[in-house]
């Protein structure tokens, strides 16, 4: 019945927050609201949670962020203005502090967005307990005032990053998205830029948590999609309850126990307002992207086998946020420039899916039989430059070009996506600037380290210097990460 459904629905939301104990009392939490049903329902849960009596009251301090993606989704300026007016009226009714930002603003972001914060997220059981205790004490001192608001809160109402986007920025964004060859890569790019923008808003306004409205249905689809996009290493980050990859700002997904069906019912029964905006793939045919294909597949399978989504979801809970056993790259290793996850690439030419695609065997072409493979080209040129250490780092970086600079800073999945961009020059400046910065640093670091410690990668590097013909006929040679699972 209606009341029981509501009780269950609310319980699920609060239980998800309660059992994970990640949101501290008084903490500023940014609710990422797209206007869609799930995130609207989430905002409503928070709104109701804050108006409860004191025992059950949610104790964090919310704000809402709305990203206007109209330019990337082909909306006309008039339609965008109309949507934005609607958005603002809903936000005004909610009464939380709110931030509306246009996706175009990525063209004004600083490179610092991509520099992971050194600050570890505070999330231990101990810390949580003491925070709750001190909060309760504080409440007690203040006499348990219902209306008490921590002083850190922004005043209700708009606190937009600011200006509406300039025509130049809008044109640049359109040019960028128009240039992407596949809908799959467009969707991924949009998600990447949106995440960076929300991260920036959170940091500027002092939010340490971001809540997204991903439902269990959506997460199951996302998990399978990301699996097909080569993001197997990051599934626990991409779909788990909490995502700590950014350090200072943690993303949490409190709606992950709710199915889309439940969300739709709840929103309908309790008149939760949501706003429809065309997405980047609205009206696209099913086969147009990995995302659409996977969505259609999962939803279809779900009608045939009603346990599909819950099975995928339960399996996802067994994934961990650590590299697979026997795999390199701990949390301290280099991060992907775009998704900010630890790089999951193997050495070139290793006996892995990555090696198969970077292999010079498939890149440079052989007209010769396998035994002489590769001798006609000069694959050692990069390593060869490494020997000529007198050359200046910037010279090296400059010659390598933007494309190579960005690519080598990317994880497997982001590399595959960026291959669908004809040119990376049209990416927002903060990405290119950070790529160049890292590239120069990477150039200097090995030089320094050579004098400090014996490099454990030296064996792999030796293999790179050798002509591939020699490597192919010598059993003992091979990249470091080659013995996969053997």
């Amino acid at each position: 019945c209606r009341d029981c459904f509501k009780a269950l629905y609310v319980h699920k939301f609060r239980a998800m927050l309660g059992k994970n104990r990640l949101i501290f009392p008084g903490e500023k939490v940014l609710l990422a609201w797209s206007g869609g049903p799930s995130s609207s329902s989430m905002v409503w849960q928070v709104l109701e949670g804050l108006s409860q009596d004191s025992a059950k009251r949610l104790r964090f301090v919310p704000g809402v962020v709305y990203v206007d993606e109209g330019a990337a989704c082909g909306q006309s300026p008039e339609d965008r203005a109309k949507t934005l007016a609607e958005v603002k009226s809903v936000l005004q009714n909610i009464g939380f502090p709110w931030h509306t930002v246009a996706l175009e603003e990525v063209f004004g972001l600083p490179p610092a967005v991509l520099q992971g914060s050194a600050q570890e997220p505070v999330g231990t059981e101990e810390a949580y307990k003491s925070a709750v205790d001190s909060f309760l004490q504080q409440q007690h001192v203040l006499g348990g005032e219902q209306t008490h608001q921590p002083h850190t809160q922004d005043s209700p109402g708009p606190c937009s990053l600011g200006r509406s986007p300039t025509a130049t920025q809008t044109a640049a964004l359109c040019r960028l998205f128009d240039s992407v060859r596949t809908l799959t890569a467009k969707e991924e790019l949009l998600q990447t830029l949106r995440t960076h923008l929300i991260l920036h808003v959170a940091r500027v306004h002092g939010y340490s948590k971001v809540m997204t409205g991903d439902s269990c249905t959506r997460l199951a689809i996302k998990l399978m999609t990301n699996l097909a996009l080569g993001r197997g290493a990051f599934l626990a980050w991409d779909t788990g309850f909490s995502d700590e990859r950014h350090g200072d700002v943690v993303v949490v997904r409190p709606m992950r126990d709710h199915t889309l069906k439940e969300v739709a019912f709840y929103n309908r029964l309790f008149a939760v307002p949501s706003i429809f905006t065309p997405a980047i793939d609205t009206k696209a045919p099913e086969k147009a992207s990995i995302h659409r294909l996977m969505e259609a597949f999962i939803l279809r399978l779900q009608t045939q086998f009603p346990s599909t989504i819950s099975t995928v979801y339960r399996t996802s809970e067994k994934l961990v946020k650590a590299p697979r056993e026997g795999r390199a790259a701990g949390p301290a290793g280099p991060r992907c420039l775009l998704c900010l996850c630890a790089l999951d690439v193997d050495t070139d030419d290793s006996a892995t899916a990555f090696g198969a695609q970077t292999s010079r065997l498939s890149q440079t072409l052989l007209s010769t039989p396998p035994a002489e493979a590769g001798t006609t080209t000069g694959p050692g040129c990069v390593a060869g430059e490494g020997q000529a250490c007198c050359r200046a780092a910037c010279n090296y970086v400059h010659r390598k070009g933007v494309q190579a600079q960005v690519m080598e800073q990317l994880c497997y999945g982001c590399r595959v996506n960026m291959k669908d961009l004809p040119s990376l020059d049209s990416l927002p400046p903060y990405i290119l600037a950070e790529a160049q910065l890292r590239s120069q640093r990477d150039w200097v670091m090995p030089e320094v380290q050579e004098y400090l410690i014996e490099d454990s990668d030296s064996e792999a590097e030796d293999a790179l210097v050798q002509p591939p013909g020699a490597r192919l006929t010598t059993q003992e040679q091979g990249g470091e990460n080659t013995g996969t699972g053997l």
């Binding site: 596949t182 699996l227 197997g232 294909l293 399978l301 994934l319 006996a351 899916a353 396998p370």
Partner: protein, 343 residues
């Protein structure tokens, strides 16, 4: 739109575009590259040491045909010797034609061939007899479960028979990609935790197994067979493939159409999946009957055969297996041969 020139030899007209790199190559350059890549996988993955006696699981189908052909070409460089091992499951009409294809290949390539039959190995049980016995359960899926488990065992026996040190099978990238999709959809965390590599090192006395074609997509395997003019047997088994795998295969083909690298991208995901230690299966022990590697008291093959012999085929799959083992405990181990011939 005329076909571009081959990006490798720059003379011939290109015949195909490689899914992994997008490069357009002519048939000859593609085949050379394909062989070089398999060689590279074997060397870089350290799959087959020099001097290995390699049993090639041969089914007459495209994958094992291509695998045997490529390894035969690479054998001198790898310093390995090859022996084809085919399994006769005892499926009337289907298997005879497939075995004929294997015999033809063996003769043409001058490779030794050994055929091992379910009927001889498993106390008279052919796959047709198994199917009749499981017909009551009304599910073709259980047929494939039986056949898969028994074939694995049969190949192991056949390989030992010919004195092999290693077993290779023709699984390609598509098989791995399908499997990882299926394991998620079925919630099989144990398999997800174990999968991802190019093979198994041969724990508990089993022969090491590997899949040298695992980084090659189905499409490339088929094109290789085409351009090398290899003949293979391509009829579907009379016992329809498991419906669920059909779903995964269909999805995979659509994904590949939307993004040609999707197959390898899934393989990469499988290589990198990290599961909680609790999701990993317990360290395997030995089967109390035959001594083969087993995660429970009885290995899968013995459990299946036991169920069949007792006229309770369903006992051996799914939850039934646990009940079987509860009974098994006090019975003490019975020598494998006795158990097999008792009925």
């Amino acid at each position: 739109m005329p076909a571009p020139t081959c990006a490798s030899c720059h003379t011939a007209r290109a015949n195909l575009r490689r899914p992994r790199s997008g490069q357009a190559l002519c048939g000859a350059c593609f085949c050379n590259a394909f062989e070089a890549e398999v060689l590279h996988t074997v060397l870089a993955g350290r799959l087959l040491p020099r001097g290995a006696v390699v049993a090639v699981g041969a089914s007459g189908g495209k994958d094992s045909t291509v695998l045997a052909h490529v390894l035969r070409a690479l054998a001198p460089q790898l310093d390995i010797s090859l022996h084809l091992v085919a399994v006769d499951e005892g499926i009337g009409g289907y298997r005879d034609a497939a075995l004929a294809a294997v015999r033809h290949q063996a003769a043409r390539w001058e490779l030794p061939l050994t055929v091992v039959a379910y009927e001889d190995l498993f106390g008279g049980w052919t796959m047709d007899a198994v199917a009749r016995s499981t017909a009551g359960s009304g599910r073709s899926r259980s047929c494939c479960t039986f056949c898969g488990v028994l074939r694995r065992r049969a190949l192991e026996e056949g390989a030992r028979l010919v004195g092999a040190t290693h077993i290779v099978t023709g699984h390609n990238a598509d098989d791995m990609a399908e499997t990882v999709l299926m394991n998620f959809l079925r919630g099989d965390a144990g398999r997800l935790a174990r999968g991802g590599g190019l093979g198994s090192p041969g724990e508990g006395g089993a022969l090491p197994r590997c899949r040298p074609l695992q980084l090659a997509s189905q499409k490339e395997v088929v094109l290789y067979a085409h351009f090398r003019r290899l003949h293979y047997f391509s009829e579907e088994c009379v016992y329809a493939p498991e419906a669920f795998r059909g779903h995964a295969r269909d999805l995979l083909k659509r994904l590949e159409a939307a993004r040609p690298s999707a197959v390898l991208d899934l393989v990469h995901s499988a290589e990198r999946l990290a599961l909680a230690p609790t999701a990993r299966p317990p360290r395997p022990g030995a089967c109390s009957r035959c001594g083969a590697l087993a995660s429970r008291a009885l290995c899968q093959a013995c459990a299946l055969l036991d169920g069949l012999n007792r006229g309770l085929p369903r006992l051996a799959i799914g939850k039934g297996r646990r009940e079987l083992e509860l009974e098994e405990a006090p019975r003490r181990s019975v020598p494998a041969a006795d158990a097999l011939t008792a009925f």
